[in-house]
């Protein structure tokens, strides 16, 4: 699984410690610490990079769910589904204010979005792509195929909630 063909290593440089998320031999690591001096050449082919601008996607942070995020998601998702119950336009679906506010809840909402996506196949694809930073379902031809790809990713990442 390659999320980024050409790593943009330079953009990792910030004032403080290097912020990035890498997948190293199957394990997710955040703030690679000692490894921050790695270069794309030394990283090796077993390292996959994710857009560093999405450093907020921290799997450990995703484990600390706030109860109000869940409530906010449930309320906003219900409003979105009501507002767009007859909408076929993908653009209109994602421009709904409730949908936008769900994206605004940040990465903590990802597990709840994934749960709803898997349960209802609602069109959370754009929101998830925004929240996560890449499109897990890229290239999917059908809604079911896209849902399946996100479901596999969610399971691999340990992001499925009851």
């Amino acid at each position: 699984m390659t999320y980024q063909e050409e790593p943009i290593w330079d953009t990792y440089e910030e004032d403080g410690p290097v912020r990035c998320l890498v997948r190293l031999r199957g394990d997710w690591l955040n703030n690679v610490g000692d490894d921050y001096n790695r270069t794309p050449e030394s990283a090796g082919s077993d390292v996959w990079l994710i857009d560093p601008s999405f450093d907020s996607l921290d799997p450990s942070a995703l484990g600390t769910f706030r109860a109000d995020v869940r409530a906010d998601f449930d309320r906003l998702a219900k409003a979105w589904k009501t507002n767009t119950q007859f909408v076929s336009s993908s653009t209109e679906l994602i421009l709904d204010p409730s949908y936008q506010r769900i994206i605004g809840l940040g990465p903590e909402v990802v597990p709840y979005v994934l749960r709803d996506l898997i349960a209802t196949r609602s069109h959370w694809f754009w929101a998830l792509t925004c929240l996560v930073g890449f499109d897990v379902a890229q290239g999917s031809q059908t809604v079911q195929e896209a849902v399946d790809k996100w479901a596999v990713w969610a399971r691999d990442m340990g992001l499925l909630v009851d």
Binding site: Q85, D135, A137, S140, Q141, Q144
Partner: protein, 164 residues
């Protein structure tokens, strides 16, 4: 009728309609009008949106003209039932942005997929006009090839039987 329905489709109840499926997110109205119940057709980049190759990725009537043409549909005058042709209709809002499409059935009635909701059969294109989809704006037709070939085959078979 659910209040949301009567607000969005004020003419539906008086025009007559029946629900013909359960709700599903697997396909939308454009897909359904094109006879596809596996994909979500919309001129937008990103999975799982599907849009025919070569059709512009813009929410314009022109883009839908081209997309429908890939399925053999060409603009036509109206939605009257016409032997040998299948028809679809495109709905647009006041800004002429496409919002919905419906397909004519063999009996002259129409079938629509309402967003992520159900499929319905409605008596006239006007049935789903209203705040949600705007007005039925442009009709398209394509030769109903299967029926055309079936009729030709029937004629051929009868002629052969008559000769024997």
């Amino acid at each position: 009728m659910d209040p949301g329905w009567s607000v969005n489709f004020p003419r539906l109840a008086s025009n007559g309609y029946q629900e013909t499926s359960s709700p599903t997110q697997s396909y939308n109205c454009i897909a359904w009008a094109m006879g596809d119940d596996t994909r979500w057709w919309w001129p937008r980049f990103g999975a799982p949106n599907y849009w025919p190759e070569g059709a512009p990725l813009t929410e314009t009537i022109r883009a839908f003209d081209v997309a429908f043409a890939t399925e053999g549909y060409q603009p036509c005058a109206d939605g009257r039932l016409q032997a040998g042709f299948q028809k679809v209709v495109l709905y647009v809002n006041e800004e002429l942005e496409p919002k919905h499409a419906a397909r004519q059935l063999d009996d002259g009635r129409w079938t629509s997929k309402l967003g992520p909701q159900v499929d319905i059969r409605h008596d006239t294109p006007a049935g789903v006009e209203g705040p949600a989809y705007g007005l039925a704006y442009r009709y398209y037709r394509r030769r109903n090839e299967i029926k055309w070939w079936r009729r030709a085959l029937t004629r051929f078979t009868r002629a052969r039987q008559w000769r024997q």
